[in-house]
Amino acid sequence: MKYVDEFRDRAVATALAERIKKTIRRPWTIMEVCGGQTHAIVRFGLDSLLPKNLTLVHGPGCPVCVTSVSLIDQAVCIASLPKVIFCSFGDMLRVPGSRGDLFGVKSAGGDVRIIYSPLDALELARKTPDREVVCFAVGFETTAPAWAMAVTQAKQSGMRNFSLLIAHVLVPPAMEAILSSPQNRIQGFLAAGHVCTVMGYEEYEAIAQRYRVPIVVTGFEPLDVLEGVAMLVGQLEEGRVEVENQYARSVSREGNKQAKTIVDEVFEPAARAWRGIGEIPASGLRLKSAYNAYDAELKFQRELAQLAEGKEDPECRSGLVLQGLLKPPDCPAFGTRCTPEQPLGAPMVSSEGACAAYYRYRSHATLEYRCEGQVNDRQ
């Protein structure tokens, strides 16, 4: 498939892995920020191609995983209301809050629907004027423009039955939170390519200099990740601290101006609680006051006021996983008391969650395998 196959080429992957092995002299610990990169690494076994003295740490870059228990509880509360059609991306449905998950609401008779695009939800609201369509607006900078677009269109057409429960988070403040932690051991970042496609990477230049960490904006295909690692190891070995762009086919320094403009028009930064990490200042988005009519937290204030403070499962160590301080298999509950069927925390559920990635692709002992060569190539 065009734009995919050429980034999964076996010979190029081997050559990139060789380049990394030749370059590296000292042990390094680097973090891939985005959950999509974590999945590429685990799904394609890329870590098995890398030298032993390079440690990859999985970052907090899965918006589903970092959504707080309180917000999930709010979603469950609103979705249970009879007049509401609750729309969410599929990943969120199985994430446990302290009062169950959205699948539970659906099986108890709530109208919970999976959507693929914010504009689908807007269309649904248009078609069902007697119902309240509430959307769980989850995501990083990547999905924010589409939600902003939906809200401006709703406002233009004077719709009143459409609102957002916002769980939006921003990547750079999370990176800074990790870097300023006394336990930090991250020496370089693979930044999230999709986020930078929207936002550009000017912001990262200050972070790189302030914390003296090299950053490489990196894509999501196997060769993207390997090339990003090669560039990052190159910087670390040469003692350079720069923001480099591996994902140049999609990312420019200034990002997508139109997308940024509409996000600025609709949203403003706000403090946001991250699951397992706690509140990080200015790390989330909220609607500007001109769009208050579309804020589900305000619209359903009365119902939400009765909610008790959500508590995370005390056994779940997802906070440590999301900060790169614990590898999923090292968690005592991993694969036993915590599985995708009975998750303690979101990283075991989300398609981009680190725990789910390890569970799905690595639930057995590490494989040392040589193929017998008896399998034909594609006919």
Partner: protein
Amino acid sequence: MTVNNKSFEPACPLPISGKHTVQLAHGGGGRLMQELIQDVFLRAFHNPMLAPLHDGATWPIEKGTLAFTTDSYVVRPLFFPGGDIGSLAVNGTINDLAMCGAKPLYLSAGFILEEGLSLDIVQRVVNSMAEAARAAGVPIVTGDTKVVDRGKGDGIFINTAGVGLVPTGVRVLPSLIQPGDAILVSGDLGSHGVAVLSVREGLRFDGNVESDSAPVHHIVADLIDSGIEIHCLRDLTRGGLASVLNELAAAAKLGMVVEESAIPVSEPVRGACELLGLDPLYVANEGRFVAMVPMQQAEATLAVMRRHEASRHAAHMGVVTDRDPSMVVLRTVVGTHRVLDLLSGEQLPRIC
């Protein structure tokens, strides 16, 4: 009668002719049910064994081994690109019989209809079943209809059961899988799941993906007639290839190694799966199966399969080993290895 100067029709439960929608009385045993049976079912399914309208079908048997299977169909939407619930219900049960190495003989059809459903839709589904049964040469010889209250069903649910005859000397079982067997797949994966998802969710993909729903019993019969020593067959329905290989590896207590680059997946299906965050190896198929045969017969098996339209893209994609019993290992496109595990729950479309 007029009320407020408007014409008024009594809404009391008088007998309603129900010409256009399914009524509870269509399952009640009375005149409406007889009409439905005569006008819709018998007209479409007519065959000598159904004609006596007895409580069941009867036929004489020879000595030998029978295969017997049943499956229920609840697909939504009822009509999708490349098929519908009717043809699916016929092909699915025929394929289950074929996977036992059996020649399918007869099918039954049980319908659960929802009150209020358009009779035109019932007619379309029944016609499609009849057409699929005729094309496959496997008649529907007995049936049943029930009607449930509006809101208690999803239009139509269909159950089909099937009886088949296993030719003398043919044994097809997971326990017969041997280390060193070739693992073959009969065609490209994921079309059915993607086709259904695309209409269910109103998604548009390049290349118009159509369901692969098709009967495969004639392919299996051809393999048997060609002298292929089939060890095991399994159709790749719910859970897709990955789930089936895991089931078979566990049943046979053997390992399997699969070459990712050898697994056929069409471009539009790959594109749709990349976009939605689905893995085609876990997506449902309705006309695809895997075959485990001795390695030295792999090429001959492929040659027979490729004679048939439904398995034109058959491929050799893996090998059975005695290492890592019960485990399926995927050699990825970049040359690394990982476990191909069972999926937990449904595949959920990803967020970004």
